[in-house]
């Protein structure tokens, strides 16, 4: 139980690394920096493996309870000084522990965050080797690891919020890592500000939970939520979950707050891989999954999650169809895949959503790292229009990216096939016709995904070389420190999906069973109460092993094939000035997609106040300016007018006081007194020796009087 008891060390290792970088980083050699930072993350990873392994044994003995390790009370006291009134009038102590919680859900996150994080750290030592601010980069990365681990290991919402804000900060710092580039700094600001909207939602949701349940601990909240005291559709819980979901939208880049993620690609590529693809952006998914007990009590919220997820998926995928920047394609792909995950959560397939997070972490990290490798080879070129014919020149990168593409496109037996298929099947098999529409949306998205991913592969690795001669000359395979993580991730991208091999294909779906202690109890509750529910996940699957599932499976594989075919047809032999098929077919659609549906422009008009018509500012800022004008001219004018009148009367009164009261009555009297008091002044002249003289004269007088009396 050693690792489990000291589970608190897992986040502290990278924190230590970050602290070392903060205090001494400037003076350390690059090699030392690498050893310290990578070593700390490796320690975390090993410790996490040990802890999860020991948790298995512990859970067997403890009815699959979550393991909690409370270090100390972090906020609030035990003395009752910080009590607050909950909604039903009882007092609850405001208390947030510095406590850690380990259950299957956080175990999965723990493993892939530390694992993928370790690989990306190693990759970074190669990728960043020639960049300035090496120690700064690794310090931020370690700080990020600390925050992310705090987020997923905290045993209450408050501690989760600490990690939530910490990863936001690190995201900001790392997007703006090249702070001398205005675009990077603007992107960092954008990410931070957009996230702030989401964070406000999270905070409000958290407060609502505290007020409604009287505690912030997951264990307490889950216990109460599952106790049956609350009706399904309870308005307060609906509000709380919706607010939490706003937070998730911000962090996980869902509509309408997704706009920061594509811009976040301004950061270094390993950062994009680690933070903006594999780990941080899944924090929203984690939070919704963690709050599953609440979400199932709020069907409206579930529907919202599902619809927003589906819309985000297709929306982002459609933009990804026409992007030319290799990292942007991947960024929109990430947004789209996140949409998938939320779709799964929204239809109640929590385990499927988590499974997709798990597989996605590997292949999307791999894609980004591969893209980084390509960019490295291309001397910083990111535009796919200027690539081509790289397959032979960087074979390792090519092969690994191909594997990842196959995985994300949903080709069996790669990882993406299992998770994506699971999501689509769960969506289809949910109750109600409306969910079939969501399935259709997901299906079309899968088609688009296959198309743009293979477009990426063909434009990058096939066709004619379209780059400058200079650049072509320099193309080279990346160093070992970069390729080895690629290979490891490629193996994971192939194999990770096998953990969730579905029953319908003769597997046992171990992944979902592993998560049963977290999610399955919800299914139980619904079944027993016999209410209309949108899912009965665990049970349902075994019942519905019917031909339809195989049909749907075939359809999605066929969609991937169609995507591959289309991409091959249009891009396999792309030369300079190749034609975009969508542009040829429907130019307005192409322009719209190329401009990302003009969402940024719309935000500019409505919120940021950057647009003007004449002198009048538009949007929310314009409204502010207008009210400011009213305040300055009308309200203040009135106030100033009142002030002027007061001043005038004051002047009159002052004149009266100065000349009549002071002048005539006070000073006049004094002027008369002054000459009259001359004789009295002789006694107090202010000259010491005068006093002495008076004394002596008096002495003479007295002595003379007494002597000759």
């Amino acid at each position: 139980m050693f690792f489990l008891d000291h589970i608190w060390l897992i986040p502290l290792f990278p924190a230590f690394g970050a602290a070392v970088m903060f205090f001494f980083g400037r003076k350390l050699q690059k090699q030392t920096v690498s050893i310290v930072c990578v070593g700390m993350v490796a320690l975390s990873f090993l410790w996490a493996c040990g802890a999860v392994w020991q948790y298995q044994g512990w859970a067997e003995a403890n009815h699959h309870q979550p393991f909690q390790k409370v270090m100390f009370t972090w906020l609030g006291t035990d003395t009752g000084h910080m009590n607050y009134t909950t909604h039903d009038g009882t007092l609850a102590p405001f208390q947030a522990d510095a406590g850690f919680l380990l259950d299957p859900l956080s175990a999965i996150w723990l493993l892939f965050v530390t694992g993928v994080g370790l690989l990306i750290h190693i990759y970074s030592t190669g990728y960043m080797a020639h960049e300035g601010g090496y120690y700064r980069f690794f310090g931020y990365l370690n700080l990020f690891m600390f925050s992310m681990l705090t987020l997923i290991m905290g045993n209450n919402y408050a501690l989760m919020f600490v990690g939530w804000e910490g990863v936001g900060l690190c995201s900001y710092l790392l997007i703006g890592f090249y702070f001398h580039r205005p675009a990077a700094s603007a992107a960092a600001n954008k990410a931070f500000i957009v996230n702030r909207i989401g964070d406000a939602g999270f905070l409000l949701g958290m407060f609502t939970i505290a007020w409604y349940f009287g505690s912030l601990r997951y264990v307490d909240v889950n216990l109460l939520a599952r106790s049956g005291h609350f009706n399904i559709g309870d308005p307060i819980i609906t509000a709380a979950t919706l607010l939490l979901f706003v937070g998730a939208c911000g962090k996980s880049a869902q509509l309408p707050l997704y706009v920061w993620l594509p811009d976040a690609m301004e950061g270094p590529t390993p950062v994009s891989a680690l933070i903006h693809a594999a780990t941080m952006v899944t924090a929203g998914v984690y939070m919704v999954a963690r709050s599953n007990a609440l979400f199932v009590l709020a069907p409206t919220s579930m529907k919202t999650v599902a619809i927003v997820g589906a819309l985000t998926a297709i929306f982002a995928a459609s933009i990804g169809l026409v992007q030319n920047d290799i990292k942007r394609v991947l960024a929109y792909s990430t947004v789209s895949q996140l949409g998938y995950m939320f779709l799964a959560l929204g239809v109640g397939a929590f385990a499927a959503g988590v499974f997709h997070v798990f597989t996605h972490a590997f292949f999307k990290a791999l894609l980004f790292l591969g893209a980084g490798s390509v960019i490295h080879a291309m001397s910083g070129e990111q535009d796919m229009r200027n690539m081509g014919h790289l397959a032979k020149k960087i074979p390792t990168t090519y092969r690994t990216i191909l594997i990842a593409t196959l995985a994300i496109a949903g080709i069996p037996p790669f990882a993406g096939f299992f998770s994506k298929d699971e999501i689509l099947w769960q969506t289809w098999s949910s109750e109600g016709g409306a969910y079939r529409i969501l399935w259709l949306v997901g299906f079309i998205t899968a088609l688009m995904t296959a198309f743009y991913m293979f477009r990426l592969v063909f434009l990058t690795f096939y066709g004619k070389p379209r780059m400058d001669h200079e650049v072509e000359h320099h193309i080279h395979e990346s160093p070992k420190s970069m390729t080895v993580p690629l290979v490891v991730l490629a193996v994971c991208a192939v194999c990770a999906g096998w953990l969730g091999w579905p029953h319908s294909l003769g597997g046992s779906n171990r992944f979902e069973h592993y998560l049963d202690p977290v999610f399955a109890r919800e299914a139980q509750v619904f079944q027993e109460e016999g209410k209309e529910a949108q899912l009965v996940a665990g049970e349902k699957e075994e019942k519905h092993t019917n031909p339809l599932e195989y049909g749907l499976m075939f359809l999605s594989v066929a969609a991937a094939g169609v995507g591959f075919g289309l991409a091959r047809r249009y891009y396999a032999a792309a030369d300079k000035g190749y034609a975009e098929p969508i542009e040829q077919a429907a130019p307005p659609v192409y322009r719209t997609l190329q401009n990302k549906y003009y969402v940024d422009e719309a935000y500019d008009y409505v919120f940021t106040g950057r647009r003007k018509i004449g002198d009048v500012r538009l949007g929310a800022m314009g409204l502010g300016e207008a009210s400011s004008w009213v305040d300055a001219k009308v309200i203040d004018g009135t106030v100033n007018g009142a002030g002027r009148i007061t001043r005038l009367s004051g002047k009159i009164s002052s004149w009266w006081d100065k000349w009549i009261i002071d002048g005539l009555l006070v000073n006049g009297l004094a002027l008369i007194t002054h000459p009259l008091s001359w004789f009295a002044r002789l006694l107090q002249w202010g000259l010491v020796q005068w006093y002495a003289l008076v004394m002596v004269v008096g002495l003479v007088g007295f002595v003379a009087y007494y002597a000759w009396r």
Partner: protein, 104 residues
């Protein structure tokens, strides 16, 4: 020598009176504060001489009192000189008639 006669108490008293008057003149006429303080010492010594001259007639009490007077003089010198230093630091002068802040 003998023409001047035996020295009596009156001789001492007259000498003390002379010193006293000299001290008073110093206090009343000099502008330099330090010299005024010294004149005060002169006055105190005249008093001491008086006390000792009378102690010749009435016993040791006068001597004891002169000890007290010397103690007093020491205290007075310490405080007075402290005041002079503070005064000099503020006004860059030691002239007593330039201390006229209280004068209207």
């Amino acid at each position: 020598m003998e023409a001047l006669g035996q020295i009596s108490t009156l001789h001492y008293l007259v000498l003390a009176a002379a010193l006293f008057v000299l001290g008073v003149i110093g206090v009343l006429t000099r502008r330099n504060v330090v010299i005024i303080l010294m004149s005060i010492e002169l006055i105190l010594n005249a008093v001491n001489l008086n006390l000792l001259a009378f102690s010749r007639l009435y016993g040791l009490h006068g001597q004891v009192f002169s000890i007290f007077v010397i103690t007093d003089a020491a205290a007075e010198a310490a405080v007075g000189l402290g005041i002079i230093i503070a005064f000099f630091r503020n006004k860059e002068t030691v002239n007593v008639d330039e201390v006229d802040l209280m004068k209207w």
